[in-house]
Amino acid sequence: MIGLILLVKRELGLALRGGTDAVMAVVFFVLAAVLFPFGVGADPAMLPRIGGGIIWVVALLAAMLSLERMFSSDHEDGSLDLLYLSPVGLGTLALAKALAHWLTTGVLLLIAAPILALLYNLPASAFGALIVSMLLGTPILSLVGGIGAALTLGARRGGVLLALLILPLYIPVLIFGAGAIDGAVAGRPIGPQLMVLSGFLLAALALAPWATAAALRQAIE
């Protein structure tokens, strides 16, 4: 537990000092979502209907942007080997990395999402569904994304490959996340979608660090 906290602190410190990665992800999130009304037309009656889905799709892509660097910088400078040898297990490391990734991208997406909801003219009743579904869904993106980041460690063309591996696994999150917002816009109950998302989150929390650790072990050996 202490190891987990220390690792998360280290990651956050690195993110704060070093990179503009997290900010870039949010800028991408807003910019990409703003593109859609230009493409499909800015009909105020249509935007609320497609808004939830577009916000979720763009959130998936934005979360993926910074995934590639989750382990690669540590792998290149050798700190991953030291972390492997440290008493903190690889599973804890995977969990800490996913947590830090969520804190530096997922939370920022969560803060930016209501602004996009305003731009898409979503009714006020859908804001709760948007926030709760993002709160449940974005950690899954970081946890599952960690598996992909560990698998593609040291691969040629890692970025494109990562997208090919991870996007199919993101589809269930997208279906239920966007489904919750659509349900709220249409005035249907959204309990089932949120419960399925919670189930995914719990399963990912239990299984993803373990799979990430297995993938990391293959990369280090």
Binding site: A155, R156, L164, L167, P168, A214, A215, Q218
Partner: protein, 239 residues
């Protein structure tokens, strides 16, 4: 029993002996199966002749799922026991599985147009089969993404196990969600809900597809082993 086949040379010898027989069985089954499918079975009273697409569509669907299961089991074997042939089996099966999944999608689309009136619907089973296709592509891409083939095989093995969650979703999607795609009508606990006149060609074609898959798998595994040996020989010659 398991480790007796760990020796690639012994495997190659056995495969060479099995191959002519399995190839002959494939051809014989295809001839009989296609005869039954095209001539000796009745057309459906609602769908007419288009029902014959089923004899390609359904066996490919079975193989595409069975192949992924095979890859997942081989991946587990490779990760747990570091069995040298398991990696090669998984690597050789993936393009075959991707091919069968593509056949399922194309024939399904061709069948959907006359019966459902559309090439594609975003139905649970269709979508999950499409996801299966992308999982296959990801598996193939990951296998070939590393300079060290060992590393690629291991990473792909982990991916295959992670992606395996999709298989039960495909299998049961038509029972869990009430969709346009019809529910399972052959693999049920009670008697199959299909007339024997249609079931016979279907099972014959399924058997033919299975033998084709096994034959191609053996061919590809032998080719892979030979390629590895050729590379090793070239490297030792260069030194």
């Amino acid at each position: 029993m398991f480790h007796r086949f760990a020796n690639p040379a012994r495997f190659s010898r056995i495969a060479a002996r099995v191959l002519p027989w399995s190839a002959a069985a494939t051809i014989a089954l295809f001839v009989i199966g296609i005869y039954f499918a095209l001539f000796a079975s009745p057309a459906d009273f609602q769908q007419g002749e288009t029902v014959r697409i089923m004899y390609v569509h359904v066996p490919s669907a079975w193989i595409s799922m069975a192949c992924y299961t095979f890859i997942a089991v081989m991946s587990a074997v490779a990760l747990i026991w570091k069995h040298p042939l398991a990696d090669i089996a998984a690597r050789s099966a993936a393009p075959l599985g991707a091919g069968f999944t593509l056949i399922v999608l194309i024939t399904g689309s061709l069948w959907g147009k006359p019966t459902w009136g559309t090439w594609w619907v975003w139905d649970a089973r269709l979508t999950s089969v499409l996801v299966l296709f992308f999982l296959y592509l990801g598996h193939i891409a990951l296998t070939n993404a590393f300079d060290n083939p060992q590393r690629g095989a291991r990473a792909a093995a982990v991916l295959a196990l992670v992606g395996f969650v999709n298989i039960p979703i495909i299998k049961f999607s038509v029972n869990w969600w009430n969709t346009l795609h019809q529910p399972a009508s052959v693999t049920r606990l009670d008697a199959p809900a299909i007339d024997p006149a249609i079931l016979t060609p279907l099972l014959l074609m399924a058997l033919a597809f299975t033998f084709y898959f096994l034959t191609m798998l053996l061919v590809r595994m032998r080719a892979d082993l030979n390629a590895t040996r050729a590379r090793a020989l070239r490297l030792s010659a260069a030194e």
